[in-house]
């Protein structure tokens, strides 16, 4: 999918930033249904699910000054909703407490270790962001290439390996292909990504999975 914010979304956000109530109304109408669809399957109580969507919208407005339009707006909203949901489930006792919320965040939804101090961060946020962006570009271009060429089996194979963490054997069984084919897809994909990452001047240790 297109990971950046579309021009119509950019315009809508610009209107919201200037305090236009009509724009905010339009924004709610556009996104509330999918946000409700996201939380409602985890929260049996419909009213509680609607409250979480409400908190997501407030969280979005509070974090608006920090929103980067290069990021997908829908993805950003889902990430706020996920953290609201996590907090809710923790309070309900369904989700064990983990140190996931930073003290730096006034809105309290960002997924960072509370106990972390700046001195403990090995790589700076800025550097980390650049590396992640490079990988997003490389993988995004690869997926677009597969889609254009109709290489859906290859896409499914790599998605199950990396996004779901399945073994070669499980992937082969699910897709009805040989383990050798899975291994070949994996090998070719890693080679392609290594080239792309090296071409952007990034060191090998950034994504060690590519060099194991």
């Amino acid at each position: 999918m297109d990971i950046s914010t579309s021009s119509s979304e950019t315009l809508l956000i610009s209107r919201i930033r200037s305090g236009e109530a009509e724009a905010w109304d339009e924004f709610i109408a556009r996104y509330e249904g999918r946000l409700l669809g996201f939380v409602v399957r985890r929260v049996a109580n419909r009213a509680a699910a609607e409250d979480l969507v409400q908190e997501t919208f407030v969280g979005f407005l509070n974090s608006l000054p920090n929103y980067d339009p290069d990021q997908s707006l829908e993805g950003y909203l889902f990430s706020i909703a996920a953290h609201k949901l996590t907090d809710f489930l923790r309070h309900e006792g369904r989700r064990p407490t983990m140190p996931l919320v930073t003290e730096e965040s006034s809105d309290g939804w960002q997924p960072v270790d509370r106990g972390r101090r700046a001195s403990s961060i090995v790589r700076s946020r800025e550097r980390h962001g650049l590396e992640e962006s490079a990988m997003v570009r490389a993988v995004g271009e690869m997926i677009a290439h597969w889609r254009r060429r109709g290489q859906w089996e290859r896409l499914q194979c790599i998605e199950l390996l990396w996004v779901r963490g399945w073994s070669n054997k499980e992937v082969a069984t699910r897709l009805g292909i040989s383990e050798q084919t899975v291994a070949n897809y994996k090998f070719e994909t890693i080679a392609r990504l290594r080239t792309a990452i090296a071409g952007q001047g990034l060191p090998e240790e950034v994504f060690p999975e590519l060099y194991q």
Partner: protein, 136 residues
């Protein structure tokens, strides 16, 4: 007790990105097995050091998610077969929660009464509009 969850599952759990049934399975296992919490803490520490897995990048940026327009075409049955098969795979096998939510929304929009959606949206608006930036 041996916990049958791989690191990728646990990463997705932290991001609230696993299919609902698997999220519940990890939550149950966490109550019974303290070692699982230590595995999760190790993932958080690794993320804090700046190391992120390919799966996390892929999932976080939703690199293979169909667009909302494609999901709409899928529901209308007008996507080409191979693309439609991929959408089914992405929804049912990968279990993408964001795309499932979009599909649920698209289905509801045609089924839900106008007034119930409007009431809900009015409630959201009234509770959040006070947080809008001041008009310049």
């Amino acid at each position: 007790m041996t916990v049958p969850f791989c690191t990728t599952d646990l990463e997705a759990y932290l991001d609230e990105a696993l299919p609902v049934e698997e999220m519940a399975g990890i939550e149950k296992a966490l109550r019974d097995d303290p070692s699982l919490a230590r595995q999760l803490a190790a993932i958080i520490a690794r993320r804090d050091s700046g190391l992120i897995s390919l799966g996390e990048v892929w999932r976080r940026h939703r690199l293979s998610c169909p667009t909302r327009q494609e999901l709409g075409s899928f529901l209308l049955g007008v996507l080409p077969d191979d693309a439609a098969n991929y959408v089914t795979f992405h929804l049912e096998v990968v279990g993408c929660r964001c795309c499932q939510a979009n599909v649920a929304d698209l289905k509801n929009r045609s089924a839900e009464t106008q007034s119930s959606a409007e009431n809900r949206r009015r409630k959201y608006f009234q509770s959040s509009a006070g947080h809008l930036p001041r008009k310049s």
